[in-house]
Assembly symmetry: C3
Homo-oligomer: 151 residues x 3
């Protein structure tokens, strides 16, 4: 019985740990918080955003140093990640959901990028880490829809 409670508790902790990681991405990106952004990715993680592909934690954390990204932050931007549908399967997990990048365009903000996301996670001795993220603009591209469909 205790084992069962333990198993159920762990399933909840896994799910919330993954939700925490996703919820931390936008604030870290907007704050140019490179250390915080990098901490949640596996050493050999990959991040594909349309035609751009970043390989390895250092490259991904280095997004905060890109001129385009820094230009967004200076102009005023918000990387808002919506609630994701998370599926944990033992020591790996996936999450599907939306991201919206709002860009300041006085007096308001415009939705500059609205994307589909499929994240992959792995349990490591140090906790859950992102092993991959695929991001595609929801501009009618069927490849974006494929990221959101459940297998």
């Amino acid at each position: 019985m205790t084992d069962t409670l333990e198993t159920r508790l762990r399933a909840i902790e896994d799910r919330l740990a993954i939700a925490d990681i996703i919820a931390g991405y936008g604030p870290a990106a907007d704050a140019l918080d490179e250390a915080s952004l990098g901490a949640d990715w596996a050493e050999d993680a990959t991040y594909t955003a349309g035609e751009h592909r970043f390989e390895g934690r250092a490259a991904i954390a280095g997004i905060t140093g890109y001129a385009t990204h820094q230009g967004y932050v200076a102009q005023g931007c918000a990387h808002v990640l919506g609630p994701h549908r998370i599926e944990v399967d033992g020591d790996t997990a996936t999450a599907r959901g939306h991201s919206v990048v709002f860009l300041h365009d006085a007096p308001g903000w415009r939705a500059e990028r609205v994307s589909a996301n499929l994240w992959h996670f792995a349990r490591t001795p140090e906790g859950w880490r992102i092993t991959g993220r695929e991001n595609r603009l929801l501009n009618g591209d069927a490849a974006a829809h494929a990221l959101l469909a459940r297998p």
Copy 2:
């Protein structure tokens, strides 16, 4: 004591199961994933969106076949459901929150629909299912505000 832990654990699982269902709606709608969209609704569920009313799981899952919906998906859209306030009461539950439909309007996206939502859920032998969803545009309509106010 174990009973108490069991009860508390179940309360958390209930809440997360309901959050999962809401988080799965948008990805399924955007991916025209009819099977996935239908799976979360009770057989006799109803979905009211302004003047439109869908009765029964088959009719609701069939939204993916509507010309308007397919036009949105082809143009590029995102049905983003925000975090909802969930209240579980035994074997039924409600959730209140926002949904935003972004539509591609090159070079960016525009917020085409911003709505209030009140969801109703029931525990079934197969798990939690949506028994009803009411959606109203937040365009000043008092009926939309009524969906968001706590009873």
Copy 3:
């Protein structure tokens, strides 16, 4: 062992209670639900939104009576709070994330305010309560970025 389960369970309940409070803010604000809005704040809570500063629960709940706020609601608005990164430390907690205020601008909605938020919470005998919220527009202002960076 049971103690450990109890501790872990409580950590999850704490986190979800805080997520519930954040998820309830927007619906209460949009519905002019003053009682519901006020219930989640500590008696001596503070809410700073740019140049505006509200001191005490009554003043914060009274936001629903402001002409500007009521004008937004009549025009059609949605206060959408994104998923937040929550950190609980004993009897206090913080949460970092985004808020977006959509305003009806027929035929669609525009993002009128896109902000960084840092919330502070305390455990009280009646449950978790907000003790402070700092909100700053993401318009390039470094003070907004500071709210989102992890300490």
